[in-house]
Amino acid sequence: MSNLPDTPISPDSVLSTRGLVKRFGGIAATNNVSLDLRQGARHALIGPNGAGKTTLINLLTGVLQPSEGRIFLQGEDITHLPAHLRVRRGLVRTFQINQLFDTLSPRDTLRMVVSHHVGLSGKWWPSLGANAQVNTRCDALLKQFHLSEVADRPTRILAYGKRRLLEIAIALACEPRVLLLDEPVAGVPAGEREELLQTVAALPADVSIVLIEHDMDLVFSFANRMTVLVNGTVLTEGDPQQIANDPQVKAVYLGHEAEVGHG
């Protein structure tokens, strides 16, 4: 089992945690979590509400500091690295609730992000659209995320599905090695859903992805590895087939629903 705190980090693991604990007062929102994300994986993180998925994301990205345990990115200990330096090393997230730049257009947003990641965002004399290499990359991203037609409109007037696409495009513009997708299809209306699902499915294979999602259709069509979190701890880990047939997982989800029924 890989979820033991003293398991060594294997060389093909891009992101690992060992014995990760986060306490808020007396409550352990994350309790002894040890995970390994393989290179190129599509790894889903599921669990009922309150299982500690968001806390785990915040620990991985450096928004929160763990009470105990360590985090490794490509074998390197990043437990105490500030959030923005983790991004620079390729650990990038998206947000469950869109976090966009409303007054900028999608094109300018991506130009800004790409400029930053090729080391040009400190330049204050040339104009934002001056670098051909940046523009080429932005055009490709706009096309990939079906944003070309709306590229020059202010982001605040875009339809929700387009905003959701831009949310992921921004993350991909950061050239991630590891991408944490936090409920990418949450709240997207049916008509815009297919476009988004296809785009998520077509994300580059060399980017390792952690998917946090409640939508089981998406999880089972997308993931090749799954971890089930319950009350801050890892209940079980395996491939989708194993998880679907796991009696413990069924119990948790059924039990959870039964509880909701009582309430």
């Binding site: 976090q99 300018d108 400190g122 004399w125």
Partner: protein, 315 residues
Amino acid sequence: MNRDGRWKYWEFVLWAVALAAPWVLPSYALLLNEIAIVALFAVSLDLILGYSGIVSLGHAAFFGFGAYSAALFAKLVMPDPLVGLFIGALAGGVLAALASPTILRGTDLSRLMVTLGLGLILMELANKLDWLTGGADGLQGVVMGPLLGRFEFDLYGQVAASYSGIVLLLLFVVARRLVHSPFGATLMAIRDNRLRTMAIGISVSSRLAIIYMVAGTMAGVAGALLAQTSGFASLDLFELHRSADVMLVLVIGGTGWLYGGVVGALVFEIMQKFLSSITPQYWTFWIGLFLVVLVLVGRERMVRPWTWFYRGGKQ
């Protein structure tokens, strides 16, 4: 918005008219000088308020500090205006660098308070250090040398207005490049969504510290211009109403748009001049009324009176 930063024809015309104005209308040269200085001050505030989302009620601290530094330099060291201007810029920039940690954290309200506090601290310092600053009487007897060793400042203020106008233009060009650059885009990103800006790997604090310094430098230059062209620096430069006025100027002209500072300065100064000539005691009443109407009606609709009677209007 035009994001490529290319100059439009009307901009060249505007600046040509602005720079010719003191020589065509000599009786307005003093007013034009003031407008140029207020415009520069407002543009510097726009960099932090309009583009970076940092509210400040103490921007006069940099203005006043630049003014006193330039005035003291002229009095005690040498009267050359350009060297003095550099000293004013340096003073504003250094003060902003020292003050920048205070605006990096906290809420808008806490920023209003610390910036307000900075202005008060400097005003009281200028008051107490009267052996140096002249205290409540102000720093008098600042005599400037000729500009570039050739152009004496005249009584009508034509040289002064041209001097301030050219400095405004040069710094406006710098600010214009800056806001259209990748660096400028990261500032707007911070203004729009600080959380996401951090999540794409940008160090928000260092960016804000840099733009605060740039804005402080420009405000210092504006203050230095005022001290040099009026030959005087007084405590009133640090007062809250200076910081409030420059915010009004920006609100009138529009934030997040560099010409907003220039247009606002023009409207504000002319209105003040016009109103105070009609009703010297109560002109602030009309300014106040104008502001309330402007904010309630909205600037867009205000300059398009034909839209006033449509419900909803076009978006």
